[in-house]
């Protein structure tokens, strides 16, 4: 099996989700995988592209990324961002399965002398960790146990919905009660609490635009984590991480609470558990609410 992926970092990797990008690269390198970036990638359209421009122009964004990936080789395309995965995967399937869309998108790509036949596979970094790396190898790479930490595994929506299945058939988890994140947490030696809100919505992009309408969603997530004694929340989704972290102030004001719960990426936990550098690899300096208990464990 190939140990090389074509990597699609996505826009959040250069902004609010840099610590996901840094820690993903560090963790994958430690596990022996090579990531080669799509050379001149563009935005995937996130969740609002369709509303602004309609389906085809939004799909054309992913088509250009995929056409470039194909020029770089036949290896699978991997991304760590939930929205990037969702869009890139959906467009890839559409090009493969829908003749009309395939023709339309190729006509659009043709305007720049490009084409794409739908023959690549697009994969989420979490699914790669589950199916290619495997839980045993992850446990095997842990040299710095995080025992004593209680972590709420918050999967969010788009990491497992709508595609918990993989392109090669089979699936890596269920979309309602996924356990892969708890498995990662437990593999590090930390304890995953039984988190009922694991797939509750953080409000997504509506939280960015008009948080007053979605603070109650994040309040629910934070309340359960606090009530169950979690030291921190871990999530694989860049938008969940930012929303649930940065709105704690506003939530405290509205509900009279005093939340100050660090929200980290699963890859930040893994990086520390793999004995990697707290700043260079785990990027713990990039969490607005510092995850001090995790930092204290870092080598």
């Amino acid at each position: 099996m190939g140990k090389k992926f074509t990597f699609y970092p996505g826009c959040s990797s250069q902004g609010s989700g840099q610590h996901l990008d840094t820690s993903t690269r560090a963790v994958m390198a430690k596990l022996g995988y090579e990531l080669e970036d799509i050379a001149d990638w563009n935005c995937c359209g996130a969740s609002v592209g369709e509303l602004a421009a309609g389906h085809l122009p939004t799909a054309a964004l992913s088509a250009r990324n995929l056409a470039q990936a194909k020029e770089q080789g036949d290896q699978d395309v991997m991304t760590a961002c939930a929205a990037c995965y969702l869009n890139t995967h959906a467009v890839n399937e559409e090009i493969r399965d829908n003749e009309q869309t395939k023709n339309d998108l190729n006509e659009a790509l043709g305007a720049a002398g490009k084409s794409y036949d739908g023959s690549l596979h697009v994969r989420h970094a979490c699914e790669v960790l589950v199916n290619d790396v495997g839980m045993d190898a992850i446990k095997g790479a842990v040299s710095n146990s995080l025992s004593g930490l209680k972590v709420a595994g918050y999967v969010g929506c788009q990491t497992v919905r709508p595609f918990a299945g993989t392109e090669r058939g089979g699936s890596y988890d269920e979309y309602d009660q996924p356990h892969f994140l708890d498995d990662f947490i437990n593999a590090t030696g930390a304890e995953a609490i039984d988190f009922e809100n694991r797939t509750s919505c953080c409000g997504g992009s509506v939280s960015v635009m008009k948080p007053d309408q979605t603070l109650h969603l994040m309040h629910k997530i934070l309340s359960e984590a606090q009530a169950k004694g979690a030291d921190m929340i871990a999530t694989p989704c860049p938008l969940c991480q930012t929303n649930v972290e940065m709105y704690q102030d506003k939530i405290n004001k509205k509900y009279g609470t005093s939340f100050n719960i660090p929200v980290v990426f699963h890859t930040q936990l893994l990086a520390v558990a793999f004995g990697l550098d707290a700043t260079k690899d785990a990027a713990l300096n990039q969490n607005i609410i510092p995850a001090d208990k995790l930092k204290a464990k870092a080598k």
Binding site: C43, A63, A108, A112, C157, R161, Y175, S207
Partner: protein
């Protein structure tokens, strides 16, 4: 609140359901809806929607074009995909809602200035077509000020602490936007896609 039953003051357009079926992405599966309500019941934002997906689909079938396109429901959707994975009839609920939401703005049923999501989506699309990437700072700024100068200042100040936190942790950079290199190529592809989409909309 919004009754589905016939109402003498309501305008009906019986060709609307057919139009939605033929033109909205995923619309052809709307006929499969059996009105079970799983979508609206699973939606985390349904308490903020005036109608919600189940009612909307029945109203589309009843030809209640105006009432449907004036709904706020499309713009509350956060794309969590609960409805999509749970619908027992495989109706791509979220995709149909987004298609209807775009139509409502296009046809003037929703004044763009009132629809935060539409303004946000526009700011977002501007960044994507200009730079090839989402610049979170510029999208936010453009969106804030799309509701007027005072509104923008108010929103900006309200989020100052967050912005400073993001700058301090280097998650918001200062300086020129990140750009895709070959933006000419991207523009050509997008322009062509817009043209093809318009062609299809004209055909129907």
């Amino acid at each position: 609140m919004n009754a589905i039953s016939p109402n003498p003051t309501q305008k009906y357009d019986l060709s609307f359901a057919r139009w939605v079926r033929d033109n909205i992405d995923g619309g052809e599966r709307m006929n499969m809806c059996m009105q079970c309500g799983v979508c609206s019941g699973s939606c985390p934002l349904s308490d903020q929607m005036d109608l919600g997906p189940r009612k909307i689909f029945q109203m589309v079938r009843a030809g209640m074009k105006e009432a449907v396109l004036k709904s706020n429901s499309f713009y509350q959707c956060v794309s969590c995909y609960n409805c999509v994975v749970r619908c027992p009839r495989q109706v791509p609920v979220k995709y149909i809602l987004h298609g209807l939401g775009r139509l409502a703005v296009q046809e003037g049923y929703q004044p763009k200035s009132n629809v935060e999501n539409a303004r946000f989506a526009d700011a977002f699309w501007w960044s994507v077509t200009t730079f090839g990437k989402t610049d979170e700072r510029l999208v936010t700024a453009k969106y804030y000020f799309s509701g007027g100068l005072m509104n923008g200042i108010k929103l900006g100040l309200g989020n100052l602490k967050t912005a400073l936190g993001m700058i301090k942790t280097k998650r918001m950079h200062l300086g020129a936007p990140h750009k895709a290199k070959n933006r000419g190529e991207l523009k050509a592809i997008l322009a062509k896609a817009v043209e093809i989409q318009a062609r299809h909309e004209g055909e129907a």
